[in-house]
C-alpha cells in the first residue's frame, strides 16, 4: 500500500511539471494556432536565470519573480523579432520558425550562462514530508500547486476577460477579429508573453527537483507536447489532465511493470487515445468549413 502511495506521489510530481509546460503550449496555440517548439527553452531560461541569481546571493523570493519576468521578455522578443515579421506566412512556416528559435535560444544560453547542470534549494527546504508510508518533497507541493494555479488562471483569463476572449477570437479567425475591433497584434503579443512566463514559472518551480542545464529544453518540450496532445490541443483542462496522466502512467509502469517500458507505455496510451479520440481527451472537435 505504501508502495502505491509512493508511486502516486512520484507520478503527480512529474506529471505536474509536464502539465505546467503543456499549459504554455496551450496558450500560444489558442492565440495563433502555432505549436511553439521553443516552449521548452522558456522552461530552461526560467530555471537557469533563477539558478544564476540565487547563486549570486539574491534571495529566492526576488530571484523567482525576476526569472519569470526574464522568460516573459524573451517570449515577447521572440514574437517581435521572429513571428510578427512572418505573420502572413502559412502556419507550418511559423512552427518551423519556432524550431529555429529553440535552436538559437539553446546556443545563446550556452554563451549567456554555461554548460553546467544547476539547481538550488527547494523553496520550503529539502526535508521530505511523510504521508502514510510514502515520502514527498515540499517542492513537489509547490510544483503541483503552481500547475493548478496556472490552470485556474488560464481558465479564468481565456473565458472571463476581454483580453482572453480577444486571444481566442484572434485564433479562431484573425481577419474577422480585426474587423470587430480586436487588436490582433496585441493579442498575439500578450499570448507569447504569458506562455513564456508560464514556461519560465514551470522551470523556476521544477529546478530544485529536476535540475536544469542549457540543453534540457527539448526533452521538456517533448513531454509537455505529448501532454498537450493527450489532453486535447488548446484546452487548459486537457493540458492539466494530460500532464498528470502521463506522469502517473510513467510512475505506475516503472513501479509495477518495468522501468524499461516507462516511456513506451506513456506513448502507447497517447496513441490509443489519438486513435479513438483524435481531438484528445478534452479537445473540442474541430470542423473546418471550406
Amino acid at each position: 500500500m505504501s508502495e502505491l502511495l509512493q508511486f502516486l506521489v512520484s507520478g503527480l510530481t512529474v506529471g505536474a511539471i509536464y502539465a505546467a509546460i503543456a499549459l504554455g503550449f496551450t496558450l500560444i496555440y489558442n492565440a495563433s494556432g502555432v505549436v511553439n517548439f521553443a516552449q521548452g527553452e522558456f522552461v530552461v531560461i526560467g530555471g537557469m536565470t533563477a539558478a544564476a541569481l540565487i547563486g549570486a546571493g539574491v534571495p529566492v523570493w526576488i530571484a523567482a519573480p525576476l526569472a519569470v519576468v526574464a522568460g516573459m521578455l524573451v517570449g515577447v522578443a521572440l514574437y517581435r523579432a521572429a513571428i510578427r515579421p512572418a505573420r502572413e506566412a502559412p502556419l507550418v512556416s511559423l512552427i518551423i520558425i519556432t524550431i529555429g528559435a529553440s535552436i538559437f535560444l539553446r546556443g545563446a544560453m550556452q554563451a549567456v550562462f554555461d554548460k553546467q547542470i544547476h539547481r538550488y534549494d527547494g523553496f520550503s527546504g529539502d526535508a521530505p514530508l511523510r504521508v502514510g508510508g510514502a515520502t514527498i518533497l515540499p517542492q513537489s507541493l509547490w510544483i503541483i500547486g503552481g500547475s493548478i494555479a496556472v490552470f485556474a488562471f488560464l481558465a479564468w483569463f481565456l473565458n472571463r476577460t476581454r483580453a482572453g476572449r480577444g486571444i481566442k477570437a484572434t485564433a479562431s479567425n484573425r481577419m474577422a477579429a480585426a474587423l470587430v475591433g480586436i487588436n490582433t497584434g496585441r493579442a498575439m503579443n500578450l499570448s507569447f508573453a504569458l506562455s513564456a512566463a508560464i514556461g519560465a514559472l514551470a522551470g523556476v518551480l521544477a529546478t530544485p527537483v529536476t535540475f536544469t542545464s542549457y540543453d534540457v529544453g527539448v526533452l521538456m518540450a517533448l513531454k509537455g507536447f505529448s501532454a498537450t496532445m493527450l489532453g486535447g490541443v488548446g484546452s487548459p483542462l486537457g493540458a492539466l489532465a494530460g500532464g498528470l496522466l502521463i506522469g502517473l502512467i510513467e510512475a505506475m509502469t516503472a513501479g509495477y511493470i518495468s522501468s524499461d517500458y516507462k516511456d513506451a507505455s506513456a506513448f502507447v496510451v497517447i496513441l490509443l487515445v489519438l486513435f479513438l479520440r483524435p481531438q484528445g481527451l478534452f479537445g473540442a472537435r474541430i470542423t473546418e468549413r471550406v
Binding site: 509512493q6 512529474v14 511539471i17 547542470i117 529539502d126 521530505p128 515520502t135 516503472a254 513501479g255
Partner: protein
C-alpha cells in the same frame, strides 16, 4: 610600427634564417571541444594546450620544439575520421591524441594501422583496446574495472546481494552490461535491475522496488550527468540506509554540489585527482596529481576534471616515449610507448605491454566516500 607588424617582421626573419634549424615535433589531436561531449573535450584541449606551452618553455623534447595541432570533431565520428586523415596526411604529425568519445575513437582507429602512426585515445570503452590494435592505446580506465572495484568493496564489507539502477544513456547502459558480466566472478549477485531515462526527474518508483527486493544489501547506480544526482536525492528522500555506490562517471565536486547533503555516505571509484592532499607522502601519484592541479588552476582559474587528467596522462606518456625513442619516427615512438613501465600519471600507474594497451590495474581506482561535502578515501 604596430606590434603585429613587428611580430610579422620577426617571423619573416626567422623564416629567412632557415626553417630546417627549427625542426618541430608535431603532435595532433582531434577532440570534442564543442557539442554534446564538450564536457570531455573542453578540459582535454585546455590541458593539452597548457602542457605544450609548459614543455616548450622548458626546452621541448630533446631540444626540439613541439607543435600541437588540435581539431574540434564535436564527437562526430565522421568529422573525427576526416580530421585524423588531415592530421596524418597534411599536418604530418608523429602521433595523435584524442577521440574524446568512443564513437570518434573507433572511427579513427583503423587509419593509424594503415599509416603506422601511434594513437592514444581518451575514451572509455573496452572495445578500444580489446582486441589489442598495434597502434592504438588509451589512458582512461574501463567501466568493467569500475564494476570490479565497486564489487570488491561490497564483498569486503561482507555483502553480496546488489541492486542496479542504471541510466539508459551510453555510459550507464555500457557499464550496466559490464557489471552484469563481471558480477558472478566478483562474488556478487544482481538481485534487482532497474533503469531510468537521462532526463527523468523522479526515480522513487525504481528505488522503492529495489528496496523492497528480498535480501537486498547494496545499491549501485551506473550513470552520468544529472540522473545520478536525482537518484541520490530520491534515495535520501525515501530514507533508505543500504550502502549506496555511484560510478566514476560522476566523480567530481559538481556531483556533491547537485546532490547536496543526500550525497553523504555515498561511495564511488575515482582517480586520485579528487584527493590531492589526502594522498600518502610516498604515493607515486602524489607528485603528478599536485603538479597538474596547480598548473591547471594557474592557467585557467578552475579545478581540472578527471577527463582533463586523461589528456594529461596521454601527453606525458607520449613525450616520455618520444624522449626514450630518441627519434621522431612514428614506429619507433610506438615501440617505446608499448615498452612504458611504471609511468605514474594522474589517473593511475601505466605499464603497457603488447597484450595490454591501457596499462592500468584496479589500483588506479580509489574508493572514496563522501563525508560532509568532501571526499574521504576508504581504507582498503
Amino acid at each position: 610600427m604596430t606590434r603585429q607588424a613587428v611580430a610579422a617582421g620577426i617571423s619573416a626573419l626567422a623564416l629567412l634564417a632557415g626553417a630546417p634549424a627549427l625542426a618541430e615535433i608535431r603532435i595532433g589531436a582531434s577532440l570534442a571541444i564543442t557539442g554534446p561531449a564538450a564536457f570531455l573535450g573542453d578540459p582535454e584541449a585546455k590541458t593539452l594546450e597548457m602542457l605544450v606551452e609548459e614543455l616548450n618553455a622548458s626546452g621541448g623534447i630533446n631540444g626540439e620544439e613541439v607543435e600541437l595541432i588540435v581539431y574540434d570533431d564535436g564527437a562526430d565520428p565522421n568529422k573525427a575520421r576526416t580530421f585524423a586523415t588531415r592530421l596524418i596526411e597534411e599536418d604530418e604529425v608523429v602521433a595523435v591524441i584524442g577521440g574524446s568519445s568512443t564513437g570518434a575513437t573507433m572511427a579513427m582507429a583503423p587509419l593509424f594501422a594503415d599509416y603506422e602512426i601511434p594513437f592514444i585515445s581518451l575514451a572509455g570503452a573496452v572495445v578500444i583496446i580489446d582486441p589489442v590494435q598495434e597502434f592504438v592505446f588509451k589512458t582512461p580506465h574501463t567501466d568493467r574495472m569500475a564494476c570490479e572495484k565497486i564489487f570488491a568493496d561490497i564483498t569486503s564489507r561482507g555483502l553480496s546481494r546488489v541492486g542496479l539502477i542504471s541510466g539508459t544513456g551510453g555510459f550507464g547502459a555500457s557499464m550496466r552490461e559490464q557489471c552484469l558480466s563481471v558480477a558472478e566472478a566478483s562474488g556478487v549477485e544482481i538481485v534487482a535491475d532497474e533503469s531510468y531515462g537521462g532526463s527523468d526527474s523522479d526515480m522513487t518508483p525504481q528505488l522503492t522496488n529495489i528496496a523492497a527486493t528480498d535480501g537486498i544489501e547494496a545499491i549501485v547506480n551506473p550513470g552520468f550527468g544529472q540522473g545520478p544526482a536525482v537518484v541520490t536525492r530520491n534515495y535520501a528522500q525515501l530514507g533508505l540506509d543500504l550502502p549506496f555506490y555511484q560510478s566514476h562517471g560522476v566523480a567530481s565536486d559538481e556531483f556533491i554540489k547537485l546532490a547536496g547533503d543526500s550525497a553523504n555516505g555515498v561511495r564511488l571509484p575515482a582517480t586520485p585527482l579528487l584527493i590531492p592532499d589526502q594522498l600518502a607522502e610516498d604515493d607515486v601519484q602524489r607528485q603528478p596529481v599536485q603538479d597538474y592541479i596547480a598548473a591547471y588552476e594557474e592557467a585557467y582559474g578552475e579545478k581540472p576534471s578527471t577527463f582533463g587528467g586523461y589528456a594529461y596522462d596521454a601527453f606525458h606518456l607520449l613525450v616520455d616515449a618520444i624522449e626514450r625513442a630518441g627519434s621522431t619516427d612514428p614506429v619507433e615512438i610506438r615501440d617505446a610507448l608499448e615498452a612504458t613501465e611504471g609511468h605514474a600519471g594522474v589517473t593511475g600507474v601505466y605499464s603497457f605491454s603488447p597484450e595490454d594497451h591501457m596499462g592500468l590495474d584496479l589500483s588506479a581506482f580509489r574508493i572514496l566516500e563522501i563525508e560532509d561535502g568532501g571526499w574521504t578515501p576508504v581504507e582498503q
